[in-house]
């Protein structure tokens, strides 16, 4: 074997090692490089823009018939908030629970479950799509968020609606929260649901109140809502990304 052959072999071996290494480790390395992941995330903005061009503001999510209802509606994430205040409210059938609606609004309000039930309602059979990949079909009844907003009168600076929830997500007590923009907030199918499948909303599915945002994935549809806050920006809330899962790297726009 000549020196030439040896160096050629070494070159080929190195090439293979580098190629294999780049493929396996490289992609994992890239996943932890902020610059690279931000480039990947650019596609998400592109998706959001394209989706908003394709689907008009008030495009409706598909609604189904009773025959399509899932025999049981799967609960995901928290199924019973580990919080003494919430547990006390639950023991009394949420009679003392009040929905605080505040932030950048003219008339902040505290609404009881009975008051919400007395407001105009909407019933819809829709498909719930989890980011994990599964879907379930349920029948929801609730008050359109637009009705609640009409009562508190958001100021013109308001860009987002933030849902503050009762469920602690970790040992440090970080609570679930989510946010949607005003287009979704005023969408006819965006309701604050207090009923599932003709019965009171079960604790596993978010009692006493959860939001339905039918054109997005399940993680946008916050459960155990305690407070709705109208804001101009959510940068100062939680990790600043607009939601519990968003702070963990999931996209704020969950229409895909």
């Amino acid at each position: 074997m000549t020196n030439d052959d040896r160096s050629r072999r070494r070159f080929l071996r190195n090439l293979c090692t580098i190629a294999g290494g780049v493929l396996v480790a490289g992609c994992d390395n890239l996943s932890s490089k902020p610059g690279f992941t931000q480039m990947l995330a650019a596609a998400e903005r592109l998706n959001r823009t394209l989706h908003h061009v394709l689907a008009p503001r008030k495009s409706m999510a598909q609604e189904f018939g009773e025959a399509d209802l899932s025999p049981y509606f799967r609960s995901n994430g928290t199924d019973n908030p580990d919080d003494p205040h919430y547990q006390a409210l639950a023991r009394n059938g949420f009679a003392e629970w009040r929905l605080r609606v505040d932030g950048l609004v003219e008339r902040p309000a505290q609404l009881s479950l009975a008051e919400l039930r007395a407001m105009p309602s909407r019933t819809q059979i829709t498909r719930h799509d989890c980011v994990e990949g599964w879907s379930a079909i349920g029948k929801w009844k609730g008050v359109p968020l637009s009705e609640v907003l009409a009562r508190v009168r958001p100021k013109s600076a308001v860009e987002y609606v933030v849902f503050h929830c009762a469920d602690p997500m970790d040992a440090s007590g970080t609570r679930y929260y989510e946010s949607i923009d005003m287009e979704d907030a005023y969408h006819p199918q965006t309701i604050l649901a207090y009923e599932l499948n003709d019965g009171p909303l079960p604790i596993a599915n978010g009692a006493p109140l959860r939001v339905r945002v039918e054109r997005q994935l399940g993680y946008k549809m916050a459960k155990y809502i305690m407070r709705i806050e109208a804001v101009r920006s959510f940068a100062h809330i939680g990790g600043g990304k607009g939601g519990y899962w968003e702070d963990d790297g999931y996209e704020w726009y969950a229409g895909i």
């Binding site: 996943s31 990947l40 592109l46 989706h51 689907a55 999510a61 599964w134 879907s135 079909i137």
Partner: protein
Amino acid sequence: MDEYLYQRHTLVVRVTHWINVIALTVLLMSGLQIFNAHPSLYWGKSSYTESGPILVIDGGFPSWATLPSGQWLAMGRRWHFFFAWILVLNATAYLSHAIASRHVARDLAVGKTEWRTIGRSFAEHLRFHRPRGDAARQYNVLQKLSYLLVIFGVLPLIVVTGLAMSPWINSVVSGWVDVFGGRQSARTLHFVAACLLLLFVVIHVFEVIVTGFWNNLRSMITGRFRVERQQRP
């Protein structure tokens, strides 16, 4: 033996081919990462019906097959949706070129008389018989059909079933996903299409190896392909 080199693949075909290799690899691996978040497949509109899943892969796919390798759904989605754009833009560039330059009509379209050679072509494949001389300059009928099936069948199917999983895209024309039998059926078809693409790649690479690996590889890098000159009697 007398041989000569000729320009087999255009620059656009070569560049889009290798971009496609990268995009499909990332899409497959990040797709398996997304699948692993709920490693079951269903038929119908939802996952929770009277009938159970049609396929369950316990524990999901191994970490060496997924991107990122550990369980990380959010990052898998980022990779997947970015490279989905690369795939679609690349495919658009390829198709525009392939149609405008008559690559499809000249090299991929199956001629009327060619259909009759399917049986013989099949037998030749089974015997690893490779065409020589001028015959090697053309794609054989099975090769043409598999390219056409992937370009105009499987790839469009995987893109549309991917879009069918987006709840926002669902609302563009309410109920259009029922064309596939519902969102969960679309998810299953997306998976099936990915399997078909993988099957295509396995056969494609196998054929590349057995019909002259270096010659094929060079032709897809520099464009030049070596053919034996036909012996005239």
